[in-house]
Amino acid sequence: MTGGPDSTLLVILPAWNEQDALPRVLAELQVALPGADLLVVNDGSTDRTAQVAREGGAMVLDLPLNLGVGGAMRAGYKFAARRGYDVAVQVDADGQHDPADVLRVVDALRTEQADVVIGARFAGRGTYAVRGPRRWAMRLLSSSLSRVAKTRLTDTTSGFKASNRRAIALFSVDYPAEYLGDTIESLVIASRAGLRIRQIGVEMRPRVAGTPSHNPAKAAIFLGRAVLALVIALTRPAHRAAGGHA
């Protein structure tokens, strides 16, 4: 269970009240990745997420407060950094990400010689589609972030991401907890720190439980907050150059 010499891949699942979706996701991950360690970061859930995760054979980090995805992920990256994992993969606990794609994303770290690989929608695979303001926001974000990262990124709000040791070390100290900080700003932080970001296309599946929102007002708010997050992230002083160490 704990990080032995052979198991150097850690799958981090930030989970907030995901007791319904989690068992199936964990079971599928264990079939797809028999050698990997699974870490569920229980983000202050009020349901049985932690118990379900333990029963599903995952390690559990129990956050006493709800920190949001960014907070949960930084805790997960700290765990990965302290226990010396070579690769950490962030996978959504709601079952949107196909466990079969995890290995492809991890392999891309090596084949693309990247520090961070994003499992991206809209990259030629899958049928996931959005419309209206949300689509404009995502277009704007991907074109701006592609310029920052100096590579073509089509899905900057993806929660499907593999990181190598360099990226784990960076994210374990600097991973924003703000809204969209875990996706947009973390990419800005990584590219500013000199990490190589690449993406590969993945398929998104409908959520196992819960429903996505398609409210246009919410989408407009999303657009505003996304632009604000991006502008702030880009104007922030880059306070830490990534060490070539670790």
Partner: protein, 160 residues
């Protein structure tokens, strides 16, 4: 004229109140300094009301009281911004602590599981830990896990 005496008394009372808060450690000095300076300034204005009129005519404000209102707004705005900054800092600190607690809890649960599963451990809670620590078999594992526990605070400081 009695209005000025009342204002002066109120300002003195404010200064005394702040000093009392400071003495009881209910208020940290970094917040109190600005307030005390402000209260002393208002005391001076209360004692010498002519000063406001003089300053108002210098900076071109026709009604002296409007100058005071404008200054009060600026001061309150500054205080609000300072408090927001401090809250942000507190949130970041509590976030870091939350992460550390979860990591430590994981280490503790891991240790407890090892101690509980070792054959030397007795089911009674009190003597279980020492006997297991003396047991040579789980000792190596305990040491390794303890290194993680001890190493944790150093990483916290990196965040600051």
């Amino acid at each position: 004229m009695s209005g000025y005496y009342f204002a002066l008394a109120a300002c003195v009372a404010l200064v005394v109140f702040l000093v009392v808060l400071l003495r009881r450690r209910r208020l940290r000095e970094k917040y109190a300094t600005a307030w005390i300076l402000l209260a002393l300034g208002v005391c001076v204005l209360g004692a010498f009301p002519g000063a406001v009129e003089a300053v108002a005519s210098v900076v071109g404000v026709r009604t002296p009281s409007n100058l005071l209102f404008a200054l009060a707004l600026v001061v309150l705005l500054g205080v609000c911004i300072q408090l927001s900054v401090e809250i942000t800092m507190l949130e970041e600190e509590s976030r870091t602590l939350t992460e550390e607690i979860s990591l430590l809890r994981y280490d503790v649960e891991e240790l407890a599981a090892r101690v509980g599963s070792s054959p030397a451990a007795s089911p009674a809670s009190a003597p279980a830990l020492p006997s297991a620590v003396q047991d040579p078999v789980p000792d190596a594992g305990l040491g390794g896990a303890l290194v993680d526990v001890v190493r944790a605070p150093a990483d916290v400081r990196d965040d600051g």
